[in-house]
Assembly symmetry: C2
Homo-oligomer: 201 residues x 2
């Protein structure tokens, strides 16, 4: 059974997904989690602590929905493809009513100061590091070219994810998935090892 703590984080994550961290008021969340305001305060010492716990819960959902299943694909390019395939649009598939809470919050707090922003920046750095690791594995296995700039690849991949977020959420574009897949395939195609030319011995 869901603990009260989990229930608060679950309801809170729904709000963050739709309206960002700014949408989470203590009163509104207490009501949604069927608690008194003081009952809510018993679980979190401050609004910042609550916000960081909400981001942690989002990371946990991302690991469960995206990373863990992708790790079952063979190492290298297949695993990278599996991860990107699950990453795009993962928030809806995990049952959240809006978009990815982590990238939503990243745009929300990018010019803020303080522990929540710092947490987000670390989380983003960790995520990019994980992606660079997958790209590095694909290079080491000869699936992608040896001189590939993994950091640049991941930088562009982040752009594909963000453009997908924007076109799927704000624009409600039915082609969002197709566009993202085409962009990712173009990025892969430009990163493959060069093949021996046909006719050359």
């Amino acid at each position: 059974m869901e603990s009260t703590h989990q229930r608060i984080l679950g309801r809170g994550l729904e709000i963050v997904s739709e309206r960002g961290l700014a949408g989470v008021s203590l009163g509104g969340l207490a009501e949604r989690a069927e608690l008194s305001k003081s009952g809510l305060f018993a679980h979190f010492r401050s609004k910042e602590e609550l916000q960081i716990e909400l981001l942690r819960a989002a990371e946990e959902a991302l690991r469960r929905e995206v990373v863990s299943p992708a790790m079952e694909a063979p190492k290298g390019l297949p695993r990278l493809r599996a991860l990107v395939g699950r990453w795009l649009g993962w928030a809806s598939r995990s049952g959240l009513p809006g978009g990815c809470p982590l990238y939503g919050a990243a745009f929300e707090l990018d010019d803020a100061e303080g522990p929540v922003r710092d947490y987000l920046a670390e989380s983003q750095e960790e995520w990019s590091g994980m992606l660079r690791g997958l790209v590095g594995d694909a290079v080491a296995l000869g699936h992608l070219r040896e001189d590939l700039d993994a950091a640049q690849f991941v930088w562009q991949l982040n752009g594909i994810y963000l453009s997908h977020h924007l076109s799927q959420r704000l624009m409600r574009d039915p082609e969002a998935d197709t566009r993202a897949r085409a962009a990712f395939e173009a990025l892969i195609a430009s990163s493959l090892p060069s093949r021996p030319e046909i006719g050359k011995e």
Copy 2:
């Protein structure tokens, strides 16, 4: 001299740039614009009207800082390059204290309902349409290949802009500009007309 109306919008845009539309409270904005709350209400009938006027003011700044100067470059690829060069990081250069208010608000309201969200989606569609027009000119002039999918090109360009926003603002990455330029040049390189092979008559 700056009118009161312009002063309100100018101060408001600074807040949106740093903290998003959610950061604009009527009380806070009145204080920052050195007005009473009722003085502020004399200029805007509702918070939604104020928010839409703030987005219009952001578009006006974008036209002034980015679009108009870029239009002086020769039509085709030079104009597209000039526009993208000015677009990346335009908010800081225009004197705003944070990031692009339009894309910030787009991520903030992407799952909302109502006139402000609708305005943002239309604004985004108009902007993408303008970019598609520039790409189309470059195709018509033979600078980019004839079979280029201009919509896909612009979709990916939006991704480069968003990844630049994230790496410049949240990550404070000193390489943000270099990464964005490399990504844009790779997009251009994959969109050039095929050249006659060397040695082929």
